[in-house]
Amino acid sequence: MTQQFYVSPEQLMKDRADFARKGIARGRSVVVVSCEDGIALVAENPSPSLHKIGEIYDKIAFAAVGKYNEFESLRQAGVRYADVRGYSYDREDVTARGLASVYAQSLGAVFTAEQKPFEVELAVAEVGASQDRDHLYRLTFDGSIADEQGFIVMGGQADKVSGAVETGWQRDLSFAAAIRLAVQGLVTDNESPDLPAKALEVALLDRGSESSRGTRRAFRRLSDADVMELLAEES
């Protein structure tokens, strides 16, 4: 019978964290920006159908980097959680805070109890009636949760991208400006100096969806043509 070597808990956690970080660093970045018109979510993603950004509920969106199968299962779990909650209580009672804390607990449980941690990093965004009531939560592979102000950058070269976004970020950006800012950030970790609309996945949480589109569902995915138009627009 083989005996397991003793590994200290510190070492075990460090190994797992390194493993997860390596997995996440391989992926392309995602930028979530809160702005005047709402929240813009921009990802570098060449696939038109395997999304990194998704709708969770009326005012809540999800963005992720890392392993597709892992964050996709988390996204679906989030949609189920939100729909069950909204169905059994009321639509108003589904909040990003509640969802983020469920995500934090599941990521934390997987990190400590499972064979391998999830190699993902998530953002949960909720658009409010005013910019002060926007919520952006960042969740990491070990279940840590952070309440961010203004914007979130996740993924491979997050530091570089984050620097670029930070210098350009202002409270009163329009959607077009926020998307341009996110793209400026995303190209910093790229070899080529610009990103075609085809290589981008862009979605919005529209602050005024009730008045402008007559729907309480704020999430809207932009087509390549929409993105091209917004990127071409002069600021």
């Binding site: 949609v79 069950v84 059994s88």
Partner: protein
């Protein structure tokens, strides 16, 4: 080993909210609650009933309208009830029967469609939606046997075929595609009669709205459980149109004008009906 894991994952992958509830939270389904009235057979349970819904196709879409009355035996339970709801962007449903269960079923159906859309990233086909609704009505069969039936009418714009379509149901969940127009509920016979005379192919949208309101007027005329337009309280039927651009609720102001015209025309005719 691998085989069973794969099977398990596949079996757990569902895009249906109802299936998810059935598995994890069965107590939340409107038709899964234990119900023990059958022993006291005889008097049916006195609960509010929703009544007449009409729907018809017009050039470019469908229109659905429902009156605003719910009755409980000979009592008017509500004058304000709304019985036509948007199911999603391209479909609407109207409900007749036990109001409490019907409203919960509607809510469940709305979540079901939105849930599928969010999980799969695409809308269900119109036939897919109609089938899901049928399955839900069948789920309610045990309650229907005890007198708590729900009978919906479903209408939507088929984005693939580019036309409006109508579906009716029976209490066992049987789904029937209807041509031209249809009505359900206690006043449906009279509404149907009116529709047969008023409807014609390729109506314009505003004409279709007017026909819908007039057929409900006729239903209210002969069926005590159907409410007519109420100028005193300014209550008008709930009317939705669905076309290429999606579902739209017709504004109160438009409805007041249409109902006013119909009442005036009937008054001016000075006839019994």
């Amino acid at each position: 080993m691998q085989e069973t894991t794969a099977n398990k994952v596949a079996a757990n992958a569902t895009s249906s909210f109802t299936e998810h509830l059935q598995r994890d939270r069965p107590e939340l389904l409107p038709y899964n609650r234990p119900f023990l009235v059958s022993e006291t057979a005889g008097q049916p349970l006195q609960v509010p009933h929703a009544t007449t819904i009409v729907a018809m196709t017009y050039a470019g879409g469908v229109v659905m309208a429902g009156d605003r009355r719910a009755t409980m035996g000979n009592i008017i339970a509500s004058r304000h009830i709304e019985k036509v709801f948007p199911a999603d962007q391209y479909s609407v449903l109207g409900i007749a029967g036990t109001a409490g269960i019907a409203i919960d079923l509607t809510r469940l159906f709305q979540v079901e469609l939105e849930h599928y859309e969010k999980i799969e990233g695409t809308l269900l086909s119109l036939d897919g939606k109609a089938n899901r609704l049928g399955a839900m009505i069948r789920g309610n069969l045990a309650m229907a046997m005890q007198g708590l039936a729900v009978v919906p009418l479903f209408a939507g714009f088929d984005t693939a075929a580019q036309m409006g379509r109508l579906f009716s149901y029976d209490v066992t969940g049987g789904r029937y595609e209807e041509q031209e127009h249809h009505a359900v509920g206690s006043g449906s016979m009279f509404a149907r009669g009116a529709l047969k005379k008023l409807w014609r192919p390729n109506l314009a949208e505003d004409e279709a709205v007017s026909v819908a309101i007039e057929s409900l007027y006729d239903a209210a005329d002969d069926d005590s459980a159907t409410g007519g337009p109420d100028p005193v309280r300014q209550l008008w039927p709930v009317v939705y149109t669905v076309n290429r651009a999606g579902a739209r609720r017709v504004a109160e102001r438009e409805l007041a004008a249409v109902a006013g015209t119909i009442i005036e025309a009937r008054a001016a005719a000075r006839r019994e009906a």
